[in-house]
Symmetry: C2
């Protein structure tokens, strides 16, 4: 029997309890040990519930109990999660977490520490909810040099963009509907401004390239400026607008960004809609692979946490994760990242077309039914810097959206 | 340094050599050891090539060399692969294979033997080419009870069906084109009749349900009877026809089958086209996940083989695979499997509609542009047995294709 403690009895924490209850027999069999929840750390008491007797309010009870071999951290946020996790590792306990803020901020340090302590720090649930992506990156794609990771990493924004596409509503109305259905939070900035996706692509990039990628360095744009008119143009082109977190290696440089992008049907992420997440990986020998599934939700996320618990239980005393170095990977500026750009100008005069042609060279005009008094086009593939310089010479640009080549 | 031997210098074998050459440095780093190819077993000599000095013709040279810790079996076919692999395991060597015939036929035995010998028998490349699916099933989805696995597991048939859909040609012409491009073999039966997909779904089912699923027990239909008219109807419904290998648990029963099926846009496998493979897994807590990528090809398959070599090298002396029991899983007959059925009758007389209604109850008529003198419909969800009984009462049925509900 292996004793574990759960830090936080919120959505994910109660999901972990539920999954271990529901599938306990088969989990014990695969694990080779019965998993017993000895403590649950929470501020509240939950009287009258089956977990009442497991509740503790003081982390030291857990830290000081040598019977606890694995700590499940599902509190979220950097503190006190970081202090608790560090203490647990120093006390020789493995840690499984769903906490993307913690992993993005302190992943390299906690991985190195857990290696020293011969325990494991596992975080499958921190990216892509239930979708297996951390373990495949760490253990399956080992024959490859990763050239690119691009993901639809946030279910809330993907839901909003899908609804805007399917139902023709604008951003604000769709956000409200998503909030009413519980798909978006009351304070939705972390999702809609791309901060959540940014932390996740930072974690994936650190793992893929083996060095610390600081999320603060990643250029991040959200979806709050996307309008129904943009969506109409996308449809007219057979494209969809998705919030993509991407990091790419080009020669010795890696750049990373989170932005809305137009993608076409030939890309596997095109079909990842609603609250689903998809993570596309390009390796230099495997080619293109994609991992698809529920990027959030109580049970899918708990499934990933419990799978980590099983792995930790099977590897007590042996560190199994590839670490990423705490040496910082200096991302190159996105100024040299090349895409096409979709641009709308609030000016339909014939002269504007001439001016665009003069500045951008050959462009492809885009016409959307029912949109008038503007001129929209797609550039040739150009870098960010050139685009910025050129577009500064044009007045009345209403919006620009990157287009995946 | 870890010495390995490769059995077979064909497409995959030469791919393994290429991948280890191309990414050797990063592979050594992830692995913690340099991987050295000491021998390559082949009937031919390859004079004047860089591997000339590694070639041996006698497997005993490899079996008798205690320096060889890992054997890569990429010969294909059951014999002599089976004898060589068994001997290697008995001599304390781990084996990594891409050989689906071998794994489907002898997987349970070789897994049990490798557990006894404290070595590993790994076969990521035997299903889905480069796509990580065996390791995720074995190590990531451990918190779940698997309810269903459904896959587009054969790139050749997916290419043919995609081309028939996109280009409007019939089966024979498309097969010829696929053969000319090297996407189909000269003797294409293993692919087009579903035998290849059958072995792969047998392997996945054995792993998912933990018991030996014999491929001979799996109901298998290929795609050679699919016509352009069927495709036209599918398009009219917004569906695509895919060759799906599926196994499902319903209560205590598991059934498995390989058949062409119509699927709709709301299913993630709908967007898996051309030579790509997709493997959809439904777990009781993770919900739906899908793994997508190149299901074949020299480098993607070699990528999966080399990833297994890295895993074997990191785990010398420790068995890491969950075994599936050699106890046979008695598949339940598909007679109780429920789907909708798409049916075409070569009779457009009004009376036939009445008869269909009398026998099948409410059905949905399907009309495809340019198809005349027939009546086509989709049934309500009914089981295979009921369908067979009912359809035997109707004359002139031209084709029936299952429809995923």
């Amino acid at each position: 029997m292996i004793n574990i403690a759960i830090l936080g009895y919120g959505t994910i924490g109660s999901g972990v309890v539920e999954v271990l209850g529901l599938n306990g027999d088969s989990i014990s069999k695969k694990c080779g040990h019965e998993i017993n929840i000895k403590y649950i750390l929470d501020l509240k008491d939950f009287p009258g519930t089956p977990i009442e007797n497991k509740i503790v309010h003081d982390f030291n009870v857990i830290a000081n109990d040598p019977e606890i071999k694995i700590v499940v951290e599902v509190m979220g946020g950097v503190e006190p999660a970081y202090s608790f996790v560090k203490e647990a590792i120093l006390r020789g306990k493995s840690v499984c977490t769903s906490n993307k803020e913690l992993v993005a901020k302190h992943g390299a340090e906690l991985l190195a520490l857990s290696k020293e302590q011969k325990v494991n720090f596992l975080f499958e649930a921190s990216v892509g909810g239930g979708i297996p992506i951390i373990r495949p990156l760490n253990q399956s794609l080992t024959a490859d040099e990763i050239e690119e990771i691009t993901g639809i990493l946030n279910g809330t924004t993907n839901y909003i963009l899908s609804k805007m596409t399917d139902e023709g509503a604008d951003f604000d109305a769709t956000l409200k509907e998503a909030q009413a259905k519980g798909y978006a939070e009351r304070h939705p900035e972390a999702d809609v401004e791309g901060y959540d996706a940014c932390r996740k692509i930072a974690i994936l990039s650190s793992l893929a390239f083996g060095m610390q990628v600081d999320f603060e360095d990643i250029y991040t744009e959200g979806i709050s400026k996307i309008t129904q008119t943009d969506i109409k143009y996308a449809k007219a082109m057979g494209a969809r607008i998705k919030l993509l977190g991407t990091s790419k290696r080009e020669g010795n440089h890696v750049y990373a960004m989170v932005t809305p992008m137009m993608i076409f049907q030939n890309h596997p992420l095109y079909s990842v809609n609603d609250v689903f997440n998809g993570i596309f990986v390009r390796g230099n020998v495997i080619g293109d692979v994609m991992f698809y599934g529920s990027g959030a939700g109580k049970l899918p996320t708990a499934s990933a946490v419990v799978a980590d618990v099983v792995d930790a239980a099977k590897h007590l005393g042996t560190n199994i994760m590839t670490i990423w170095s705490s040496k910082k990977l200096e991302l190159s500026s996105i100024t040299h990242a090349k895409h096409k750009f979709f641009v709308r100008i609030a000016d339909s005069d014939a002269k504007v077309k001439d001016k665009v042609k003069e500045i951008f060279g050959d462009v492809e005009e885009v016409v959307a039914e029912g949109v008038e008094n503007e001129y929209a086009f797609i550039t040739q593939p150009i870098d960010e810097d050139t685009f910025a310089k050129n577009s500064s010479k044009i007045d009345h640009i209403v919006s620009k959206i990157r287009v995946r080549v």
